[in-house]
Point group: C2
Chain length 241, copies 2
């Protein structure tokens, strides 16, 4: 094994590094004085306005610290909780049974109250929902990369975490309490959804997870059962509140 | 149709907006004087060091203007050329034929010389390559969202472009000229790949595209043949050089 060749800075070191850089900014502001800093913040504001905040839907990103990669369940729940979109894969009925991935938005719950189960707002005008209604085998794939915590590490590098949840993509009964939950979860994270065209007949779907494939470090996929994944939340949020 | 409800700023307006904001920064620097601006740039530097540049692999992003969404072929080639990663979907041999998506890096050529055909650097230690060697049906899905040009538009909104290339995932003969091309294409875009562990037996793969599913505006997927897609490059780069 030659892992050391592309060994990145560890998650802990990254967070420590961020803290160091924060204090560096604070010290510098003491030296400079407020009369210089105010225009600086205007320049910073202009810069942010110019560059924008890619990958910052609803400002939920970077709010919660990335867990230690050794904690597979917490890392998996963090990935699902912090992301706003992923690729939902179905068996294509249009393309001879090929696997078909589609970019979709999702939510697993209200901010910092995720359930771990991804909910979607799909229309059968799109092939994904049509496929699922014929063959519900599906998977949902999420990368850490758009969260912004991988730094300069390549998206395929195993330390830039990725998760694939495999299972069944199910339509949620629109008159159920679960539909209310899905609506709150999705519309709180994806505000524009509430204004999407009614005549497109968007419906709530969920992935009933059966298998979890998580890569968050060297050494292959992490062993992680559905039960460990679903019950990670309390411990995880308790230790980060 | 109630498309106007979630009609976003068009691509052209976005680019115009960027230009306006650039000139605003220039004007402000004339008013302020260099003695104030120098510390400002230090603050900006610290900020960038602190926040980092998510989604900026090899600094190729935002270098090339997003094409007009009406030009489906150019938009498709732009999406493939500007992105560095996506989700590669196979039929899972481990999970009873479920569609299995995996986060991978890719390249379609040297910077600004893309061929439109995505190449990958995969190891059979990962299920994706193993699956493809048993059943080569595959699709590759890319979102505009991580490029940063969707702004505040939701990743699932049809004006935040997305593409799925469906076809066959093929191993590239390691002694062929095509393998040399794949190597240059991938290693120029993903510099760390050249140092990935030899004992993992990474190999070059490519997607032989058969079908293109592109969403880049309201009104459903754009009609786009493989021929139109593959031959878009010359016109597209000629009009942007």
């Amino acid at each position: 094994m030659t892992d050391t060749i592309y060994q990145p800075i560890s998650a802990k070191e990254t967070h420590a590094g961020e803290l160091e850089r924060t204090s560096e900014i604070t010290e510098y502001s003491n030296i400079m004085g407020i009369e210089v800093l105010l225009p600086c913040f205007y320049v910073l504001y202009l810069f942010l306005f110019f560059v924008g905040f890619p990958a910052s839907i609803e400002g939920r990103l970077l709010l919660t610290k990335k867990p230690d990669p050794k904690n597979a369940a917490a890392t998996a729940r963090w990935l699902v909780s912090q992301n706003s979109w992923g690729v939902l894969n179905t068996i294509s009925s249009d393309l001879g049974g090929s696997p078909f991935g589609n970019v979709v938005s999702f939510s697993d719950g209200l901010p910092n109250k995720g359930s771990g189960i991804p909910y979607f707002y799909l229309t059968a005008l799109d092939p994904t929902a049509r496929d699922a209604l014929k063959d519900d085998r599906a998977s949902f794939t999420i990368s850490e990369y758009p969260i912004g915590t991988c730094g300069k590490i390549d998206p395929e590098n195993p330390t830039c975490a990725k998760i694939t949840l495999t299972g069944k993509l199910k339509l949620v009964d629109k008159n159920s309490k679960e539909a209310d939950f899905a609506k709150s979860a999705l519309f709180s994270k994806h505000v524009e959804m509430k204004d999407w065209p009614e005549d497109h007949n968007f419906q709530f779907f969920k992935l009933e997870i059966e298998n979890i494939f998580l890569i968050d470090w060297f050494g292959g996929p992490k062993p992680l059962t559905l039960d460990q994944y679903l019950h990670a939340s309390l411990n995880w949020f308790a230790s980060n509140s």
